[in-house]
Amino acid sequence: MHTEPSLPDWQRQFLDALYDADARGPAAAVLGNGLEPDARLRIYRHSSEAIHTGTLRITYPAVLALVGEDYFDQAARGYRHAHPSRSGNLQAFGAGFAGYLEMLPDMRELAYLPDVARLEWLRQESALAADAETAGPDIAIDDLLDTDALLQVALHPSIRLLAGAHPVLTVWRYAMQPTPERLVLDGEGEHVVLWREAGEVAMAAVDPASFACIASLAHGHALDAAHAAAQARDPGFDLAACLASLFRQSLVTAIHPLNAS
């Protein structure tokens, strides 16, 4: 006796067919009408695949430029198969692409690529992060440094940080705007700070001590702790200069005593 699959069953089979070319899919429930049911399901698989690879192309333009369309689309299809979309909002798709790329055997020759992908996902996060009012430039940094109180310096929600094992920002810029000169990749890893400026993502490579300071503040640690983290990297670290640059970029949203509790 032929029994109809239940609604959840055929929807599950339908999704299986969208994510896996070898899955049987609910073909038995599909009318052919001049085409094989599988051919009709294939239209949907290609459509969903194109939506997901297209989304990754938009989110990861430098990775796309570095590896070319064919390799990128193949990797994107592999990623999609391994990590199906988990949200009805496509802005959330692709968070794990860097980790997926890292597992690919070809990455031995493109070791910097996962770092570039990490940077691009952080660009996406920064672009979509919450807005916040910034603290005015009238705050005297010297007074801040003189106070005995334990202070917390809150940073803008769009700040993201990446300690690259490779010169990731240099590679990203080269990928987005290639120069005739060959890019020489023998430099050390770059420490990149990302933030949003007038609606666009801005990026800068900073020294490791400044990076440690900003990362510590971004984690909600007290100014003293951030200072100590930076001095551990560079005993001559200039906290006043680092704070001044954060204020200059409108990245400080509040300064308040740290609640001891």
Binding site: F14, L15, A29, I43, G88, A132, R196, E200
Partner: protein, 277 residues
């Protein structure tokens, strides 16, 4: 919402709309584009919203999924509806996800009593959560299921009547489905509850070559086809002047092309008014 022609606001045109404020009757954006906590698009839309009537068009809520509605998605939709106070809020008569796995596409449903009841219940949930009426849109499809209790047009009409929601009549989708599944698109239009039609969508399709049967893909990648313009004129004659949107999502052209398409739709709306007067 004015019963005039608007356009879908897409990323490549945001800067020009902000800078030039072109004469467009209204704008529509995908609801999910506003799901982010903050950033440039929110900033732009707050300013655009001050000058243009706005419609929010959802593509990811998946009304027809056999499992539960995504509560977090619905909550976020409510937040942006409260924030932007759009004139219209719409979703699709489709499904797209199950068990947390998403296709991010508009997938077809069988036209059965079971699915009808499911959709009516879901639309009720969404309207309750948002505290307002929503519109639901008929989708393009490339397959039909065995069995089924309704023709597509009767199914769409029944969903709207039983749930008490409004209808976003996508005229291009009716034409695409009439070719793909072989039916009279005008009979489809005549079967719809006229007073419930509160928005019309128009877009371009592509032909899929090399198949033994004609197949149109709802690609939103070109100008509205002549056959769809004719069907649109019939729809306006049936439903009266209704806010009409030009959609374009792939190979997005210069803003002028969308404005030109909107002007063509406006001519049809104006011609109806002149005739009706």
């Amino acid at each position: 919402m004015p019963a005039r022609a608007g356009i879908g606001l897409r990323a490549p045109h945001v800067a020009r709309v902000l800078a030039e404020r072109p004469p467009i009757a209204w704008l529509e954006t995908h609801s999910e584009n506003l799901f982010a906590a903050g950033g440039g698009f929110h900033h732009a839309l707050r300013r655009i919203r001050a000058d243009y009537p706005l419609s929010l068009h959802g593509v990811g809520l998946s009304l027809g999924s056999a499992d539960e509605l995504d509560r977090a998605h619905l909550r976020r939709l409510r937040e942006i509806v409260d924030r932007y106070e759009p004139a219209l809020v719409s979703e699709h008569l489709c499904w797209g996800a199950l068990d947390g796995r998403h296709s991010n596409d508009l997938l077809p449903l069988p036209f059965t009593e079971e699915v009808l009841a499911l959709l009516v219940s879901r639309i009720g949930q969404v309207q309750d959560a948002l505290g307002r009426e929503i519109l639901v849109e008929n989708i393009s499809t490339y397959l039909r299921f065995e069995g089924g209790d309704y023709a597509e047009w009767d199914f769409v009409a029944a969903v709207v009547r039983r749930s008490g929601c409004a209808l976003l009549c996508d005229v291009n989708n009716i034409h695409v489905n009439s070719v793909n599944h072989g039916f009279d698109p005008r009979a489809y239009l005549r079967a719809l509850p006229r007073a419930a039609v509160k928005e019309i969508h128009l877009a371009g399709f592509t032909r899929k070559d090399g198949l033994p049967v004609p197949l149109l893909i709802d690609s939103h990648s070109r100008r509205v086809d002549a056959a769809v313009w004719e069907l649109y004129a019939d729809a306006v004659a049936l439903f009266g002047p209704v806010p009409t949107l030009i959609e374009w999502d792939q190979d997005i052209p210069q803003l002028e092309v969308l404005l030109d398409e909107a002007a063509l739709a406006q001519e049809v709306l104006d011609a109806h008014r002149a005739f009706a007067a």
